[in-house]
Amino acid sequence: MKPLRLFLLLALLGCALTRGHAQLLALKSNALLDAATVPNFSLEVITGGKTSIVGTAFGSKKVWSLDAQSIGVMSEFRYWFNGRPLTREFIGFGLMAANYDITFDGKRYKGDGYAGAITFGYDFVLSPHWSVEFHSGVGLLYYDQQRYYIGDRIRDYYYNARGFYLLPYNIGITFAWILR
């Protein structure tokens, strides 16, 4: 988990270094992930006239009936085309780090994943404090995991699979509550 901790630290440092703008904060949650029983929580900080930074944390014990434990963080830098953050179209450049332990089809996958991604989305303004975003993206995931059949005896420190996946990233319908 060392790389994960390092990544988390870097992400938080990146947020801290960015200048806060207009003191607008938004608390968000991706309803699709919530529906998939993956609780998640995001915090978006407006950093400029057209930019913002989002930090997300998520975790799960099960995804529906699937035995999938995970914990992860995401950060994303967003550029809002319309000139006002949390309004209309945006493009995001994100990073993700997660630790997972998934049991599926007789196999167990346990390891860490790191991704870099690009996201597109549209924000609908519902009211002065509420917005809903529709977003999706694509990302390149690097995984480093143990992959073995259930019942096998393994040693915890032996990571026997690593590689890259091109995956859909950050698909969701997110509701945002904007704080003062």
Partner: protein
């Protein structure tokens, strides 16, 4: 239920509660609506109002006034999708003008819409029975072009502002096309008013801002939920939002104050529409050409003359007895060689009588009076011709004669006074000086030379001078005035100066004429003397205001301030601060003494002072302020009631029935003016009839007003800009249709007569060329009219004189046939001048 499903439902429910705009709608009630149409009936020269039940009027219920206004705007732009006519909760009045509506919110509004196109709204305000009275004037909204969706927007036409005194009031409905608008946009209209040209800015007027719905919401976030951070928030129309579905209207109003009625004030609007990224549309529009109509321009307005009661407490001043000293002098002429006065000479006798009268005022024979003579100087003079010794004694004898004469005629006590009796011979140098004053320098030089040659002997000087050729002239013209006695005396008084004394001091002393040396009671007497002579009064009043305070209040002497105000009004100087300390606008009481904590102060709200203050305000066209002060006047005095009506009329309230009628009752001319100013055609037609029948055809003011009314009544303003400009000839004015024709074609006959709106203007300008400038700056007339008029003027001005003569002759014939003369007005409704014998002061001349 599966836990996952439960979980999802819970989340969705929470979201719904948090995001929904739950509006609690008030329960509506049933409301009865009665609708009446107000019509005008013309009866001779009177117009009466009647109300008849209006049938088939649609009434639509709205939740709020905001919604009502929006629906009306959409309806006018034909974009309401028929909601106004056939939507939910629309009632239609029956033949008795009655309908009942259900579910009407107590705080809502009702829109009424007639088949002729009259539309408006009223507030419910919790009422269960609502009476609507409307005048069928068609659309109440003007200035906005109706633009279809997705079409190129038409430009907003310039509007004509309204003037009330020196307030210019602009009201716009500025159209923004739906193709320009965005929900994430903000439209800003920033008008700037100029004076005459674009080089001189009169005022940067308050902007108008209209936001799209999304812009409003995101702006709130952008301003950290405090819209006071938005510098344009104060100008935002929060009742409306820009949408792309239809054309939007920016409602705007502002006032330009103060203005000069003789100038024009064009207004340009700088429009920009921006979204979050920046401005995407910019434009500059002419909102107003700057001309404004002045419907009450010709009102014969006068302010009643109310004189101040100078004997009232706080105004009068009474002197105190005090010791004062002064002097008096007079000279008496003698004949050549005589030591006595010629008592047959009327001038001498008059002078003696004057002297004795003056002396007697101060002559205190028994020492008990309040005046005494403290010294007398009698200086006799003899002219220098003849022997010096003889002349010297003659001069002394003359002095003694005068003294003896006075002693013998009742002033024997003068012997006890300190008397200085002298006698001298006038030197020839004085004679030379007298000659120089008459520009006879050669004679004077001759005498001066002789005197220089014989400096010590007057006899020698005389012998030489009598040989000169000019001696006879000198003897006859100069020397007689040198044979005199100068009588002067000093006196002391211990009493208040009399009016005559004060008058005399005023006549003889410069410091009294300027008021500098006057005491307050002396000024008081001088005020009363020169009440109607403002040239003499002004310096005295100025000193009185500066130097003397009110007896019981910390303010200048009221009487002095009042007279100073009158003098300034005469000169056209406006100083509205002068009389303010004497008027209490918080108390509607007349001429009362203010009391506070048991202490009585000075007099406030004297009608004379209020009237003077109003005069000053009216000179500056401050009719609104003048009206506020006029309300302090006694309400039961018909003169003041008339004044208030006039001021209300000048404050643009002339359309109200009671004010219109009150102004019309003052005089026939004012009736014409106020009727011509009304919006309804019936009144204009009465005004036109009165002008034609009751005023001379060669009165330029009447013809100008006639042209204005005809132009407003004319329905066919456009075709005369082509080849046929019969509107500028008198032919149609002479058109007298026969009775049968009129019965069948009543409209046509009258209409054709009305169309001749150019000819009366030509007559007015022909009679008085200053009306040309007035017309060119008159907001009643469009640019097209002015251009057309100028073209026709050049072509036709040589014929106007003949046409006018013909017109006058025809009218005379017509009146003769009718058994009347030109001096008799046709109208039976001619009003006499205002009642009351008070002289009315013409404060304002209404013509330019």
């Amino acid at each position: 239920m599966d836990t996952k499903v439960k979980y999802i439902c819970l989340v969705l429910l929470c979201l719904f509660i948090l995001t929904g705009n739950n509006k609690i709608v008030a329960q509506g009630t049933a409301v009865v609506v009665n609708v009446f149409e107000e019509l005008s009936e013309v009866n001779g020269t009177e117009v009466k109002k009647v109300q008849i039940p209006a049938e088939n009027v649609r009434i639509r219920v709205c939740d709020s006034e905001v919604e009502a206004k929006r629906e009306i705007a959409l309806y006018k732009q034909k974009q309401d999708d028929g909601r106004l006519l056939n939507g939910k909760n629309v009632g239609v009045t029956n033949s008795e003008g009655f309908t009942q509506l259900k579910n009407v919110p107590p705080g809502g509004a009702l829109i009424y819409n007639t088949s002729e196109g009259t539309i408006g709204h009223v507030l419910v305000s919790g009422r269960k029975e609502i009476r609507i009275v409307f005048k069928n004037t068609g659309s109440r909204y003007s200035g906005a072009n109706i633009v279809g969706k997705k079409q190129r927007p038409k430009p907003n036409p310039p509007i004509t502002p309204e003037v009330c005194g020196n307030y210019l009031s602009f009201t716009y409905e500025f159209l923004i096309s739906g193709t320009q608008a965005r929900t994430n946009g903000r439209a800003v209209l920033a008008p700037i008013a100029f004076v005459e040209t674009l080089h001189d800015t009169a005022k940067i007027m308050r902007p108008a801002v209209l936001d799209g719905a999304e812009y409003t919401t995101t702006m709130l976030r952008h301003m950290a939920y405090d819209m006071n951070n938005d510098k344009l928030y104060a100008y935002l129309d929060s009742t409306r939002q820009m949408t792309t579905l239809q054309d939007d209207i920016i409602y705007y109003s502002d006032v330009l104050y103060p203005i000069d009625e003789n100038k024009i004030y064009p207004v340009y609007g700088y429009l920009w529409i921006e979204d979050y990224n920046g401005v995407y549309h910019k434009d500059t529009v002419l909102l107003s050409e700057g001309y404004f109509p002045r419907p009450m321009r010709f009102l014969d307005f006068s302010i009643p003359d109310v004189r101040i009661d100078t004997t009232q407490f706080g105004y009068r001043r009474e002197g105190k007895a005090e010791r004062q000293s002064s002097s008096y002098s007079l000279n008496l002429q003698f004949e050549v060689g005589k030591k006595e006065l010629n008592l047959n000479d009327s001038v001498t006798v008059t002078l003696l009588q004057t002297l004795m009268e003056t002396l007697s005022k101060y002559y205190n024979r028994d020492g008990q009076g309040d005046a005494s003579i403290t010294g007398i100087g009698i200086h006799g003079y003899a002219s220098p011709e003849g022997r010096y010794d003889g002349n010297k004694s003659l001069s002394l004898e003359r002095s003694r004669y005068v003294f003896q004469y006075l002693s013998d005629h009742g002033f024997s006590g003068l012997r006890a006074v300190n008397i200085d009796i002298q006698g001298d011979v006038i030197p020839w140098t004085d004679v030379a000086e007298a000659l120089r004053q008459r520009h006879l320098d050669s004679y004077a030089d001759g005498i001066t030379e002789i005197v220089t040659t014989y400096p010590n002997s007057m006899d020698a000087q005389y012998n030489k001078i009598r040989q000169q050729p000019y001696f006879n002239f000198v003897k006859d013209s100069i020397l007689p005035s040198l044979r005199k006695v100068d009588f002067s005396f000093e006196y002391e008084t211990y009493r208040v100066r009399t009016t005559d004394e004060i008058r005399q001091l005023y006549e003889t002393r410069e410091d009294y004429r300027t008021g500098v040396a006057c005491k307050d009671y002396e000024l008081y007497q001088l005020f009363r003397m020169f009440e109607n002579d403002h040239k003499r009064l002004e310096p005295l009043a100025a000193v009185g205001t500066k130097s003397f305070q009110d007896l019981r209040d910390n303010r200048p002497w009221p009487l002095a301030a009042y007279y100073l105000a009158l003098c300034k009004i005469d000169k056209g100087i406006i100083d509205t601060t002068l009389l303010k300390p004497y008027i209490d606008t918080t108390e509607y009481r007349v001429s009362y003494r203010r009391q506070q904590n048991g202490i009585m102060y000075g007099v406030y709200n004297d009608p004379a002072i209020i009237i003077a203050h109003i005069s000053m305000l009216c000179q500056g066209k401050e009719y609104k302020k003048a009206l506020e002060y006029a309300r302090l006047l006694p309400p039961d005095d018909p003169r003041f009631a008339r004044l208030i009506a006039m001021l209300n009329g000048l404050n643009c309230r002339f359309r109200e029935d009671d004010i219109r009628d009150a102004i019309a009752a003052t005089s026939l001319w004012n009736k014409v003016v106020v009727y011509a100013a009304q919006d309804e055609e019936e009144y204009k037609e009465v005004a036109l009839a009165l002008i034609r029948d009751s005023f001379p055809l060669d009165d330029p003011k009447a013809r100008y007003l006639e042209a204005t009314v005809r132009w407003q009544l004319s329905e066919d303003k456009s075709n005369t800009f082509g080849g046929d400009n019969a509107a500028f000839g008198p032919t149609k004015l002479r058109y007298v249709p026969d009775a049968e024709y009129m019965e069948d074609n009543d409209w046509d006959g009258q209409q054709r007569s009305k169309e001749t709106w150019g000819y009366p203007m030509m007559v007015a300008i022909h009679l008085d060329s200053t009306y040309m400038k007035m017309m060119l700056r008159d907001g009643f007339f469009t640019k097209k009219y002015k251009n057309t008029f100028r073209n026709n003027w050049d072509k036709l001005k040589s014929q106007i004189s003949d046409w006018l003569e013909q017109e006058i002759e025809e009218r005379r014939e017509r009146l003769n046939i009718a058994g009347k003369t030109d001096e008799e007005p046709d109208s039976d409704d001619e009003e006499s001048e205002t009642a009351g014998d008070d002289e009315e002061t013409q404060v304002e001349s209404s013509n330019e």
